[in-house]
Amino acid sequence: MELIEELKEKLIEQLNLEEMKPADIANDAPLFGEGLGLDSIDALEIIVLLDSHYGINVSNPEEGKEIFYSVETLANFITKHRS
């Protein structure tokens, strides 16, 4: 599950989650709302991250909702679509 650890570090860096460490993010914890507290701009930044690091193009933020649920769902999505 290297991808999961890598993702946690990338999210912390890209989203300026300065007070968090990878260990603070549970694999299945919700990223948005009650969980990590990410918001709509973070969702857009994750889309940028998917494009720049993994070459995956998400063209509609709406379809991101389930994909971005947790680090685990995000990793599954990347594994499936990575070019």
């Binding site: 989203l15 300026n16 989650l17 300065e18 007070e19 968090m20 507290g37 701009i41 973070d42 857009l44 930044e45 940028v48 720049s52």
Partner: protein
């Protein structure tokens, strides 16, 4: 015009922090912006959104947090706190970053959102749940009397009880905050 008076003043610039004429006990190294996170920790704030802000927002945000240390703002009517800020470079500090992103075809929405100067008032409003008036003005230099005249229009029109604002400028390594509060006498 004696009905309104400036009841609080704070400045943050490379020489340090001065609150109501008295130096505030915090040493800042103006060579980098690391002092902003240091001051955030020094003030024991727990507000992770802070780290997402650009330097201009952080500067104004920290100024208001310092104000809240010495003034009890909890009694203010949240609909009647107005924010009136001014500078000359607008959001050009972050505009430069966005422009570079655009030119390298790596546009970041989290950078773009800070390419408007009034976002700093949005950040302060969200942090404090202040629903009152917002006004962001651009002028080449800060003249406190001119700012006061602009700001007090809101008090005279009875749209606010308290004005918090002043000069908030960031461009590259230059930063300058002159925070003032005006209240009805």
């Amino acid at each position: 015009m004696t009905n309104f008076e400036i009841t609080y003043q704070l400045s943050i610039d490379p020489n340090g922090i001065v609150r109501n004429g008295t130096p505030y006990d915090f040493k800042l190294n103006p060579d980098t912006y690391a002092w902003m996170a240091e001051l955030y920790r020094h003030l024991k704030i727990e507000y992770p959104k802070f780290h997402k802000m650009d330097h201009l927002c952080k500067l104004a945000f920290l100024g208001v947090e310092l104000l809240k240390e010495s003034v009890d703002c909890t009694s203010f009517d949240k609909d009647r706190v107005a924010l009136v800020f001014e500078n000359s470079y607008a959001s050009l500090d972050t505009d430069q970053k966005h422009q570079k992103n655009v030119q390298s075809q790596k546009t970041s929405p989290a950078v773009f959102v800070y390419t408007l100067p009034n976002i700093l008032m949005g950040e302060i409003a969200i942090r404090n749940q202040w629903y009152g008036e917002n006004l962001f003005v651009l002028n080449d230099e800060f003249d406190v009397e001119g700012w006061k005249q602009t700001a007090t229009t809101l008090l005279k029109a009875n749209k606010a009880d308290v004005i918090i604002g002043g000069w908030a400028e960031v461009l590259d390594q230059h930063f300058d905050l002159r925070l003032h509060m005006i209240q009805r006498r």
